[in-house]
Amino acid sequence: MSTSLPPVIDIRDLSTRFGEVWIHRHLDLQVQAGDVVALVGGSGSGKTTLLRQMIGLLHPTAGDIRLFGEPLFGGSVQRERALRQRFGVLFQHGALFSAFNVFDNVAFPLRELGCFDEAMIHDLVMLKLSLVELLPRHARLMPAELSGGMVKRVALARALALEPELLLLDEPTAGLDPDRSDSFVRLVRQLDKELGLTVVLVTHDLDTLAALESRIAVLAEQRILALGSIEEIMAMDHPFIRNFFHSDRSRRALEAH
């Protein structure tokens, strides 16, 4: 990818207000193609809100969000839909359709597209399932029968179904045991390498941050305080960063990698 391309995510002067409370004020964030960016911030700092605004589920109070250089809203329905098919989202709790089994969940976006026959969809779904390290026999299970880790894998397979260029992950490792969480991070990293995705994730988990070797966007004081590699962020002197990265627990997590 050449550098002349517009940033995959381009947020300018974004402000969000819930009632009387300002969540974001004059927030700017650019994510370049191929980057892996982790949004970190304290509880209630508006990480998930920002993510939901990026995917068009929430309207910011003021400001401008562009994905792939195009505005999220406006224009024809086809344009909006085409834009939304260029990114995949992994919701925190998976958001699998509980009335569908695993196969149909992953097949759903492909069927909606309406340009493949069933044989092609079947093989593509099986390919996606193998990509997230699930076995063919898992395809017939219902979401209620899956463990937490498997739900995330299936949700990831669904997010990848339309070959997105951008993948957004909301707390991808929350609720997974360390072992599962490690293997999930490894999976995301491998997919990122294989498919050349741009990845934006929201996380609290320092292990995830360290293992993904992502760039880090620190969300505090209602804006992006800093964006850089983990070393650059660690070198900054700010109360939030001190608390978040320099506690004993975080040191241990970061040294382990």
């Binding site: 098919q85 260029r86 359709f97 509980s98 009335a99 597209l113 340009c115 493949f116 044989a119 092609m120 093989d123 593509l124 099986m126 390919l127 996606k128 193998s130 990509l131 076995l135 063919p136 026999r137 395809a139 219902m142 979401p143 209620a144 339309l162 070959e163 260029e165 294989e194 498919l195």
Partner: protein
């Protein structure tokens, strides 16, 4: 990403049987395939099932798994004999070939006793349903005894909240429906009665019909649709979000805290709602009688107690009490059956409303037979 027209994707140099080569160009991606449309399809038709050709994929600009899968199907689900490809694209086909080898387990063969199995499963389900219903009733009886013995543990707050939600908040809609039914019933009866000059009997018809039958049944149907469905959905979502399990771990009886208050609240609220709805329906009938038959309110209200004996009011109150308990129990039963998926929630909410309305009408028929000699003017 999507700039290259797909017509130039494939260029085949003399694709003669057994020899020739195909060069793949452009973007074999999901969006590329969609942009290609019919032009691409026409081009591909000639190349379907020709893995014998030499395929050159080194000039591909982009390849994703959708594009690779399209090629795989084009080749008849195998690698062509000659395929030149860049290594970063090669691994996609390696993965596809690997997945294709993993045979998915065949669906379980149909048993010759399919019919027997279906009937047996139905019978077992029916038994389980009955057992659950009996267990729910028994638990309720235990709760009642428990509360009588330990009056301090009476869940007053929950009862009062449920009274407000399913009683007070139901007043506007039951009033509106009752009033309109009264107007319509009175209007239609007035048209008929006027032909015979039997105007005065409109009070008998409306009084008996509304107070004894229509009022209680109408209220129960409205409450089943309004509060019964809400109760089922609430309990169902509480099950899905594990709130009921959380209650149980705190040592709080789910039946005492969730089911008992709903049953008590509806048992109290329903007779009052029956009274309210019937009153509104009688008012509606009175208005219609006044406009159609020019019958004054004074006259109507003077005659009403004479033609509708007081027993009818007591029967209506009793019906309200029983209907309230039935609607609440059915709603709670279905609510506790919800499994954690959306389909189950909708199926059980539907089941709750349909079953409680059916139950109300069945119970009404039984009460009608049991009380056939009570409160009816002797001829």
């Amino acid at each position: 990403m999507n700039g290259v027209p797909l017509a130039s994707l494939v260029s085949s140099d003399s694709p003669v049987q057994g020899e020739g080569s195909v060069t793949l160009r452009g973007e074999w991606t999901l969006s590329g395939l969609r942009n290609g449309g019919d032009a691409l399809e026409r081009q591909l038709v000639d190349l379907t099932g020709r893995p014998d050709l030499a395929w050159n994929a080194t000039e591909l600009e982009a390849l994703d798994s959708a594009g690779a899968m399209r090629l795989w199907h084009l080749w008849g689900q195998r690698q062509p004999d000659v395929l030149v490809i860049r290594p970063e694209h090669g691994h996609i086909f390696e993965r596809i070939a690997r997945v294709a080898k993993e045979v998915s387990p065949p669906p379980a063969p149909r048993s010759p006793f399919e019919g027997v199995i279906v009937v047996g499963r139905l019978a077992l389900t029916l038994r389980a349903v009955l057992a659950d219903a009996v267990a729910l009733l028994g638990q309720l009886a235990i709760d009642v005894l428990h509360v009588i013995r330990h009056p301090k543990e009476m869940p007053w707050k929950e009862v009062s909240a449920n009274l407000y939600k399913s009683g007070v908040r139901a007043m506007p809609v039951t009033a509106l429906v009752g009033f309109l039914i009264g107007v319509v019933l009175s209007y239609l009866s007035a048209l008929q009665l006027r032909q015979f000059g039997a105007d005065v009997f409109i009070i008998n018809i409306l009084g008996m019909g509304i107070v004894r039958e229509l009022g209680p049944v109408l209220t129960a149907v409205l409450v089943a649709g309004r509060s019964g469905s809400a109760m089922t959905a609430q309990l169902g979502v509480m099950r899905v979000t594990e709130e009921i399990d959380a209650l149980a771990t705190m040592g709080v009886s789910r039946s005492l805290r969730l089911i008992f208050p709903k049953v008590v609240a509806l048992a109290v609220a329903m007779p009052l709602l029956v009274l309210w709805t019937s009153a509104m329906a009688v008012v509606g009938g009175m208005v219609s009688a006044w406009t159609q038959l020019n019958m004054s309110h004074h006259f109507f209200l003077q005659i009403l107690p004479r033609v509708v004996p007081l027993e009818n009011l007591w029967i209506a109150q009793g019906k309200g009490f029983v209907f309230g308990i039935a609607v609440a129990l059915v709603a709670c039963y279905f609510g506790l059956r919800v499994r954690p998926n959306t389909e189950s929630l909708s199926a059980n909410t539907t089941g709750s409303v349909v079953t409680s309305i059916t139950a109300v009408i069945l119970i009404d028929a039984v009460i009608a037979i049991a009380t056939r000699g009570v409160g009816v003017p002797k001829l």
